[in-house]
């Protein structure tokens, strides 16, 4: 019997709003126009543009080169012609340069058969170089994988964790990858094993996952001669945050060294870059929410607009109250339906009121729901009160700096107070102060 991990206190149990599906993941249609943004979310810098309007592009052709830390190479996700280069908006509304490519010409990559073990002949530096070349990005954070691995490469012992946990009600993308592509995942672990020489490799997964799938992972790992631990976690938000996984595993092992959490979708991008020599131009996205007719996971080209994805999934069956990118808890509102998906887009949701339960802000009724929800044992209602009263120092004394912005408190709040916004604002100010 395997032990199931979870956190000692706090967290919220969210309703599961996505049916489990055994169906393989479909490819989405190619977009007629792909809007390619030149910067990864969370990074301040853009990649250097290499193409100009009117130029013809192959599928996967480099269109912008990384320009120092925090930027990645960008590739054309479809074959076509550069129609325009405009100042556009990312899905969450950040303004950035966007290359609009119109579909034309033939496919060069899609049909080719990958050679499974070609990477075995490559050395560490070659592989890292390949990842940089192909613009592989950590899907959850937008950090270029090259930067991430390069930093860890010779910085002491590393524990590698494959984070297939998804605690929000609408995401089972990583789990689906785990189910449908176990071999690719294990190969990706093997590749990382070669680069990083981690002390241990573990897969963190939902305790509810059927054992047959876990067995499949185990047998693939055995074939690859890799020692991979399986860690089951209780389904409770925000267990999928790397900090909390780290805490749970550390409690068990007391292990030293840093922990590197990578999601299966990132590993898939890594695998395709190294094994199939393919650029990071595709993304596993869950298209769903109560307002969508046929919600499902698709593998979509980067640059596909949200509107196209919604249409492919049957369109709207109700009026969405909000369209949200990347999860209903920490995600952001979509600027409009024309915004494209990026390397960091994992889900697009059209939520209706029955799901959001939104309401007008009211004074705190001291119900204590936020205290119960906070996985960091903070007292959000008290922090809120102190910050509103301008007593930020006392709030920091009570541990405001420990807040991970998981939004569990604001989810639970009876009065719909914008707790986490206020905390974010103050933490940002605090950081500016310290710098």
């Amino acid at each position: 019997m395997m032990s199931i991990r979870g956190f000692r206190r706090g967290g919220v149990t969210l309703p599961q709003r996505m049916a489990f599906s055994h169906d393989p993941i479909e490819n989405a249609f190619l977009p007629i126009h792909a809007k390619l943004t030149l910067r990864a979310a969370g990074s301040g810098k853009e990649a250097r543009l290499l193409v100009s309007e009117g130029e013809e592009l192959r599928e996967g052709q480099l269109i912008a080169r990384a320009d120092g830390k925090g930027t990645t190479n960008a590739h054309s996700s479809i074959p076509g012609i550069v129609r325009r280069i405009v100042r556009g908006r990312s899905p969450d509304g950040t303004a950035l340069n966007t290359v609009v490519v119109s579909l034309a010409g033939s496919f060069s990559i899609s049909g080719k058969r990958p050679e499974r073990y070609i990477w075995k002949s490559l050395n560490k530096t070659d592989i890292l170089h390949l990842l940089q070349e192909k613009g592989v990005t950590q899907v959850s954070t937008g950090i270029p994988l090259y930067d991430l691995l390069h930093g860890k490469k010779d910085g002491g012992p590393v524990q590698l964790v494959v984070n297939a946990l998804e605690m929000d009600p609408y995401r089972r993308v990583e789990e689906a990858i785990l189910i449908h592509h176990p071999q690719e995942l294990i190969d990706a672990c093997d590749i990382l094993n070669k680069i990083l020489k981690p002390e241990s490799i573990a897969i963190a997964l939902d305790a509810g996952l059927q054992t047959a799938y876990i067995d499949a992972l185990r047998s693939h790992a055995k074939d690859a001669d890799l020692k991979i631990g399986i860690e089951s976690f209780k389904r409770r938000y925000p267990q999928d945050m790397p900090q909390l996984i780290e805490r749970a595993l550390r409690d068990k092992r007391g292990a030293a060294g840093s922990m590197l959490c990578l999601e299966p979708s990132t590993l898939m991008a890594l695998h395709e870059a190294v094994v199939s020599n393919k650029a990071h131009i595709e993304q596993y996205v869950y298209v769903g929410g109560g307002a969508i007719k046929e919600p499902r996971i698709v593998k979509a080209r980067i640059g596909t607009s949200l509107g196209d994805l919604f249409e492919e999934c049957g369109g709207f069956k109700g009026l969405p109250e909000r369209v949200v990118i990347n999860g209903p808890l920490c995600g952001s509102l979509a600027a409009d339906l024309d915004s494209p998906i990026e390397k960091t887009t994992r889900s697009v949701l059209a939520l209706c009121h029955e799901e959001t339960h939104s309401g007008a802000e009211q004074p705190c009724v001291r119900c204590g729901a936020c205290v119960k929800a906070c996985p960091e044992s903070l007292k959000p209602y008290l922090l809120y009160k102190l910050l509103i009263a301008g007593r930020a120092n006392e709030a920091y004394d009570l541990g405001l700096a420990r807040c991970t912005s998981c939004a569990a408190c604001a989810y639970a709040c009876w009065s719909r107070l914008p707790l986490v916004q206020l905390f974010d604002r103050h933490k940002a100010q605090g950081q500016n102060h310290a710098q």
């Binding site: 959001t356 912005s405 974010d424």
Partner: protein, 364 residues
């Protein structure tokens, strides 16, 4: 980083738990709605008038407050809960202007004056009831027998609590027997129900349920409107607990403290032995359970932290027992809750730092 230069206000999370302050007050009110029906069935028109006066005056007062502060909070339903709770503390035949004035006091002064919902430092409904006790003490103690028991409307009677406390020498050491002996009425329904239960359940187990408890559970005794419907009240409490809308620590600690004292020191009959008190009787009377589940649990005026909340509940239980046994209002559970409402912020301020993890305490 998240909010840095985004054109769209991030405003996450985008989903919320279904519970909201508004929904909770409506649900609490709904849970009490059967009490209204039950009490009107027992006492007829006069009870209906009390409910109407209390709730109506709460509504009007809330509209006035809203108009003064230029906002619209009637929809959040807390006026209704206040109106209902004020009425539950009233005797059924009281002059309607008293509940009306108490509700108005609760909402205009206690809630409105202190800045509206969420700011009041005591439960407005309880403050309203206390207001009535202080201003019209005689009217608040003027109880009648339910029609079903006496056959006529408005036959005056004292409540079993008052009677039991004031019984002189009786030679009986159990409350129920003492009440029977002093000629306290017993409904035919109670005799037959108790008889049935004894035959079916208790006698085979070697026990016997004395008569009188059924009357308490069904409200067939003089009492306030809220007391009259113990069974429906318990059903409502179960709803609140299962939906996780109240901190269970409060009623549990309150009942535990109260029941323990009632068991040890009894009802106050002369000649009663220690540790032989009648807990069922004590819990079932005087609106104690109503206060435990619906009044003391009001989140605004009770402590947020669960362990402090338990202490708060325990203190209410103890105070309530003291008031009932030695105070001049045997039905004065609302004073016990009110006192703890007032003490609660201090209690929290003092105890809160002690509950923090040690590392944090030394860091702070």
């Amino acid at each position: 980083m998240r909010n840095e230069d985004h054109a769209v206000d991030a405003h996450y999370p985008h989903i919320h738990d279904w519970r909201s302050a508004t929904k909770v007050s409506w649900i609490c009110s709904l849970c009490l709605a059967p009490v209204i029906i039950w009490s009107v069935a027992l006492y007829g028109l006069s009870a209906a008038l009390v409910w109407l006066a209390s709730i109506g005056s709460a509504l009007i007062s809330q509209l006035l407050v809203d108009a003064a502060f230029k906002r619209f909070t009637v929809v959040n339903g807390s006026f209704l809960l206040t109106g209902i709770l004020v009425a539950t503390t009233m005797p059924p035949t009281i002059a309607p202007f008293i509940p009306a004035a108490s509700s108005a006091f609760a909402i205009l002064i206690v809630k409105g004056f202190f800045g509206g919902n969420g700011k009041n430092w005591m439960n407005p409904a309880l403050a309203g009831a206390a207001f009535a006790y202080v201003n019209w003490p005689a009217a608040m103690r003027d109880f009648v027998l339910p029609r079903a028991l006496s056959g006529v409307d408005g036959l005056s009677a004292v409540t079993p609590l008052t009677l039991a406390r004031d019984i002189g020498v009786s030679g009986q050491t159990r409350v129920m027997e003492a009440l029977r002996q002093s000629g306290y009425p017993l409904s035919a329904l109670d005799s037959s129900l108790t008889g049935f239960l004894n035959d079916a359940i208790f006698l085979p187990l070697g026990a016997r349920l004395p008569e009188g408890y059924m009357d308490i559970a069904l409200g067939l005794k003089p009492g306030t409107l809220g007391e009259s419907a113990l069974l429906v009240l318990l059903a409502g409490s179960i709803v609140l607990i299962s939906l996780k809308l109240i901190k269970l620590e409060i009623p549990l600690a309150m009942i535990a403290g109260f029941a323990l004292l009632a068991r040890i020191f009894g009802t106050g009959l002369p000649g009663e032995e220690l540790f032989r008190g009648d807990v069922l009787y004590a819990l079932g009377s005087g609106g104690f359970l109503l206060a435990a589940f619906f009044m003391a649990t009001d989140p605004v005026s009770s402590p947020v932290d669960r362990s402090i909340a338990a202490l708060y509940g325990l203190a209410i239980g103890v105070l309530c027992y003291a008031f009932r046994r030695w105070g001049s209002y045997p039905e004065g559970v609302c004073f016990a809750v009110l006192i703890m409402n007032v003490i609660s912020p201090t209690l929290e301020r003092r105890l809160e730092p002690l509950l923090r993890p040690r590392a944090e305490r030394t860091a702070a």
